[in-house]
């Protein structure tokens, strides 16, 4: 009986850690904003190596009053930002959260975020697992300049 329980616990742990390993976050950062700014956004590449589609269903952080999943769409030149219920992570692919599109929105920053400071953000997936992220605050270098290396 005890052995069975252990086995169940072990298999649960194993499956949990496999799931956690299936989804990995790369190139993540929080955009540095002016000290008075009330909002900022986190960007990242989320790689789902699993064979099953996943989704980010919520995010949390102590750094802001609220944290939401947002997207931007360009409708005839008008930029529209809206909250989304979830960010889909298709199986075996990478979902890009990048300027001008999907992002994790931090609303009501509790204190100004300093450059190169790290901010803890956790993402909750639809299977209940959590991705704990330690995100650096980075200044954006701006939109891509063509032939950037010339400068």
């Amino acid at each position: 009986m005890k052995f069975l329980r252990l086995l169940i616990a072990a298999s649960f742990f194993a499956s949990f850690s496999t799931l956690a390993m299936d989804v990995q976050v790369h190139n993540a950062y929080i955009r540095a904003v002016p000290p008075t700014a009330a909002v900022t956004a986190a960007f990242m590449d989320i790689n789902n190596q699993g064979n099953q589609a996943r989704a980010v269903v919520s995010a949390s952080s102590a750094a802001a009053d609220a944290i939401e999943l947002h997207t931007h769409t360009n409708v005839d030149g008008v930029m529209q930002m809206r909250q989304v219920k979830q960010i889909d992570l298709a199986a075996n692919s990478t979902t890009h959260l990048k300027p001008g599109g999907l992002h994790i929105m931090l609303i009501g920053l509790k204190k100004p975020l300093n450059m190169d400071e790290n901010v803890l953000v956790s993402l909750k997936l639809d299977d209940g697992s959590l991705l704990e992220l330690d995100l650096p605050v980075r200044k954006m270098v701006g939109m891509p300049h063509k032939n950037h290396q010339k400068h």
Binding site: P35, T36, A37, V39, H70, G77, M79, Q83, M143
Partner: protein, 200 residues
């Protein structure tokens, strides 16, 4: 016969109604065409943290104007960085010929003091201005900028949908060029240099 006559009356009334609608929409038209017509730019006086600023204060210079709001986490700061970069890459003799201006169309949240701190961050001498809502709405229209406040399901309360273009104007408020934020850095720079050299 009696029935026919009343039908005639109904028909006449309908025609009258239609004619009225036609006239009404005709009367509305000038207003609509003003928004569709080519934007011309306009002079303006708005508020900075140091008081009133007019476009005419920058005589002999050009201004690069952007309409946005500071609760915009992404598009506006990206555009400001782009603007800052374009200015910092200008030949030195032209740099002080161009005044970059960020106009907040969200005066309820963006006070002049808040705006001043916001634009300072981008290190390009950008001037943060705002004003009365009605004035801003009219001004944006004259520049061909579009924005609207939208209640969204978010802790933000409301967002501002907006176009993201740069407007190059002279100090009389004459619109010289509308540059989309998708323009490349080189293109923007080439247009700025050409316009500024003509100005000299």
């Amino acid at each position: 016969m009696k029935v026919n006559r009343s039908l005639l009356y109904v028909g006449a009334l309908l025609l009258l109604g239609l004619a009225f609608l036609q006239i009404k929409s005709g009367l509305d038209q000038p207003d609509n065409s003003a928004t569709i017509g080519k934007p011309t730019g306009a002079p303006f006086t708005l508020t900075s943290h140091q008081g009133e600023v007019s476009l005419s204060d920058f005589e002999g210079q050009l201004a690069l104007v952007y309409f946005g709001y500071t609760w915009c986490p992404d598009i506006c700061p990206t555009s400001m960085i782009f603007m800052a970069k374009a200015i910092n890459y200008l030949p030195e003799n032209l740099q002080n010929q161009l005044q970059p201006i960020f106009i907040s169309v969200d005066p309820d949240r963006d006070t002049p003091d808040r705006l001043a701190d916001y634009v300072k961050f981008f290190e390009a001498g950008i001037l943060g201005l705002t004003g009365e809502k009605d004035y801003l709405a009219k001004l944006a229209k004259q520049y061909g900028a579009f924005y609207r406040y939208v209640e969204i399901d978010s802790a933000m309360g409301y967002a501002v949908d907006h176009t993201s273009d740069f407007y190059l104007v002279n100090s009389s408020g004459e619109l010289l060029a509308t540059l989309p934020h998708s323009i490349s850095g080189e293109e923007l720079q080439a247009i700025l240099i050409k316009a500024l050299e003509n100005q000299l």
